[in-house]
């Protein structure tokens, strides 16, 4: 029970840091996907189901506060979390930096596909302007930043290993 509460409070802290501090930073730094990186790290490297919950909760809060351009963000991020879980357990099961980054990128490609489908629908049947260039550029930056953030988490993993024990 204590561990679950600690996990929830950690999630809230990381979410607040990402949406309040990081998103206010200039240029590319505002796109650092801290919660997603933590979630994938917990799920793939630490083998904790908390990571799955973190990613799903992240989508839910983004949808609740309308901070995402993807509609049904909870649904999209949960599907991405399922993808990360599947690739972490069946394809990139090696708990190395490579495994974590690869699982996370798989999750991002699922998000990219779902978001792309929505934009395509808007482009074909709606009247809103759709910038495919910005869409691809956004996701390209996020994937790169996710990889860099994961590297930093790896460096910090050893000193903080007792906070979230590896299973």
């Amino acid at each position: 029970m204590t561990r679950v509460i600690f996990s929830f409070l950690s999630f809230v802290t990381v979410f607040v840091v990402e949406t309040s501090f990081l998103s206010s930073l200039p240029s590319v730094f505002s796109l650092i996907p801290l919660v997603f990186a933590f979630g994938v790290f917990l799920l793939q490297h630490q083998g904790l189901f908390d990571g799955f919950i973190w990613i799903g909760l992240y989508g839910l809060l983004l949808q609740t506060f309308d901070l995402s351009t993807i509609p049904f963000a909870f649904f999209s991020y949960t599907i991405a979390a399922v993808g990360v879980l599947f690739t972490a357990r069946n394809i990139f099961s090696n708990r190395s930096l490579y495994g974590v980054v690869a699982s996370g990128i798989a999750g991002y490609f699922i998000l990219l596909f779902l978001h792309g489908c929505f934009l395509l629908f808007l482009y074909l049947f709606g009247d809103s302007f759709v910038s495919w260039k910005w869409f691809v550029w956004d996701y390209g930056q996020k994937i790169l930043l996710f990889s860099l953030t994961t590297c930093v988490l790896f460096i910090l993993a050893w000193p903080t290993r007792n906070l979230f024990p590896v299973r």
Partner: protein
């Protein structure tokens, strides 16, 4: 860990999370939001401070070009200001002549930004005031002296989500400063640009003209500044013109905004 025990553990985690979510979303959301705002405000201020310093460094590389552009805008705005002052005097004289009773239909609520979306251009953000303060969906949001930056998308008792004017799904009826007729609809097209569409062919609009809200929408008063015209050209396969507008306000540089509420 045995498979059955693992499944039981996962079920427990999901159950506790769902219970926690229910409590948060339906029972304690207001309290938890107000508690989080206390931590979010300084984080947003810190991030915005870093943004303003970095923007200064970024601008220093394109200083000459920016300087020339601003000089041209300044000259144009100086002429506009003279015309505006003449119109204000004339308006005041007419009001006195007609014994015109001016009613202020709008009040403003000041709020701090507590979180932003992680999309290029920060197209939505959350503030720490909500429906308890009289804020309603569709209310315009301004910074400084009447620069429109967005509209209220959603509200809770203690917070509100604001959609910026650069968001691709937000449309605002506008006119050119000095004119009263709505000339078109402005929509976001990228991080820092807007597109003004459905401009009738006979409309007098030129580069560096000031674009303001036209007052056509019920909750949005007329005269809120939006931006400057950068380019005007005919719309493809259409009898209308379209213009590219550069917004005057940069929401990334702001931590305090004002929501205009109807009295």
């Amino acid at each position: 860990m045995p498979s059955r025990l693992r499944r039981t553990r996962i079920f427990q985690i999901i159950l506790i999370t769902c219970t926690g979510l229910f409590v948060f979303l339906f029972l304690l959301r207001d309290v938890m939001e107000k508690s989080l705002h206390f931590f979010q405000r300084p984080l947003v201020s810190a991030g915005t401070w870093i943004y303003s310093k970095a923007a200064f460094l970024e601008d220093s590389f394109t200083l000459n070009q920016e300087l020339n552009r601003v000089r041209n805008q300044l000259e144009h705005l100086a002429f506009e200001r003279v015309k505006l002052e003449e119109l204000e005097q004339e308006n005041q004289q007419l009001k006195e002549a007609l014994n015109f009773l001016e009613r202020n239909m709008f009040a403003s609520v000041s709020a701090s930004i507590v979180s932003r979306s992680q999309i290029n251009g920060s197209s939505t953000f959350v503030i720490d005031q909500g429906s308890e303060e009289g804020i309603q969906i569709g209310d315009p949001v301004i910074v400084k002296d009447g620069l429109l930056i967005g509209k209220v998308l959603n509200t809770t008792p203690s917070s509100a989500t604001i959609q910026t004017i650069t968001h691709p799904t937000l449309a605002t009826a506008v006119s050119v400063l000095g004119q009263t007729q709505t000339i078109g609809i402005v929509e976001g097209i990228s991080e820092r640009l807007l597109k003004l569409r459905f401009i009738p062919q006979d409309t007098q609009i030129a580069v560096n003209d000031l674009v303001v809200t036209s007052g056509l929408e019920a909750r949005v008063p007329s005269g809120l500044f939006i931006g400057l015209v950068n380019d005007v050209h005919p719309e493809a396969n259409s009898p209308f013109l379209e213009a590219i507008i550069e917004p005057m306000a940069d929401v990334r540089n702001s931590t305090i905004v004002h929501v205009l509420i109807q009295l």
